[in-house]
Symmetry: C2
Subunit: 209 residues, 2 copies
């Protein structure tokens, strides 16, 4: 679990404002998560998420003093691009990024909770499907949904996935899952806070791709 | 057809050496081709091809005087990375890029030749499938092949595709196809020359993704 635990998300302050710089630093390790899935079918998703992060970082870099929190960025874009907003810039990139982050959160949570297919205890399809249904499915048209079901066949065995999460070290399943639970604390709080912000700012869209 | 015709590939010299700068300029318009397919399912392919071009350009920019032709790049990399070559750098990027270019070439050629599904004359699935089978299928494992078959359902109608190729102008099918034939002359010669170079330099690989 070194991979994730090396890069813990930070505690949120009481007002749940997310520091842009710390967020970008923590989230920059997330694309590596998709390498843990072990098939290059997922490199496509990795680049999509990488693209989101690059876009947010580019906006931040234009004026770090102005964009201290993620909310600063979203509000500034609402001012600057009233006509297209929220389907624009870092607001759009973060809208999609948070869905990918939620997907990962639910997948890890489901594993940590011991949810499993009793007939195939070493498969993680049931966990991936739960994560997909809760985080992404409603934003995908039928063709992408069907592609998801095909791509599911490229998912790794649970044992290989946990090993990859642990940077290739052989660790006991329970030790790895304990680390996952630890990681999920701040990670989940951060993802929740982004969702809350999108609701509060009415920045959420529900078009399908 | 303005989209393609505005950006004709150049005549090759008698020795079929491809000028890197002119190639990069001509090929930079190719990713737009995937927008003509009209569905964002294909944006994934667009970024893959964009990535190939970016990688080749980055190598070229390091020393334009040294890398006058594409062959200069591939040969320099063979020297510099003997162990990994050809699965490395711009050699790998061009290996995949040429397959995407071949896919487009065969698709357009098949349309220009009037190949059609008599029962569905306004679909281009038969043309796309031919292009896929000749250019890409053997480099894809069964999961990606299955994803291809699902993605085929996102293909546009022929009329919409030809209109998009013509930059959204309503042109007669025959006029558009005449332009396609014109475009294909230098384009096909260029793609053929790259394939020939990979064969001659033994730079071709046949692993699947
Ligand atoms: C040759 C044969 C191949 C044929 C073609 C095949 C094509 C296959 C296409 C499959 C779709 C791949 C997933 C990517 C989907 C993306 O389309 C969506 C929306 O993507 C967003 O779109 C916005 C505009 O609407 C902006 O461009 C965003 O970009 S912006 O930064 O510019 O604003 C961008 O992220 N992202 C998503 O749905 C996010 C997905 C997140 C993670 C999902 C995890 C799933 C894991 C599954 C495990 C089984
Ligand atoms: C949330 C749900 C989604 C779940 C996940 C969905 C995942 C879907 C994945 C589908 C595959 C998309 C197509 C991309 C395939 C790519 O994997 C391959 C190889 O790609 C190459 O790989 C190399 C390493 O081996 C280097 O990285 C190259 O990069 S390098 O530059 O770094 O060297 C890179 O191009 N390119 C290809 O096969 C090329 C494809 C070209 C064009 C094809 C046109 C087809 C049109 C079809 C019309 C119907």
């Amino acid at each position: 679990m070194a991979l994730l635990l090396d890069n813990q998300f930070k505690d949120l302050p009481p007002d749940k404002a997310i520091d842009t710089k710390l967020f970008l630093e923590a989230v920059s390790h997330i694309p590596l998560f998709f390498d843990c899935l072990g098939s290059n079918v997922f490199s496509v998703i990795k680049s999509d998420i990488n693209g989101n992060i690059t876009k947010i970082r580019a906006v931040y870099m234009k004026d770090p003093a102005k964009y201290v929190t993620l909310q600063d960025i979203v509000e500034a874009e609402r001012e600057a691009h009233a006509a297209e907003w929220p389907k624009v810039g870092a607001t759009l990139a973060l809208m999609w990024l948070k869905r990918g982050l939620r997907f990962i959160q639910i997948l890890l949570q489901s594993l940590a909770d011991g949810e499993r297919d009793e007939n195939n205890p070493n498969l993680i399809r049931v966990n991936i499907t739960r994560a997909y249904e809760q985080a992404l499915k409603r934003y995908h048209g039928w063709i992408v949904q069907k592609i998801f079901h095909v791509a599911l066949h490229a998912a790794p065995y649970k044992s290989n996935f946990l090993k990859a999460l642990s940077k290739g070290e052989e660790v006991k399943e329970e030790d790895c899952l304990a680390n996952v639970r630890q990681f999920l604390v701040n990670y989940t709080a951060t993802v929740d806070a982004i969702y809350e912000m999108y609701t509060n700012l009415k920045a959420e869209l529900d078009y399908t791709v």
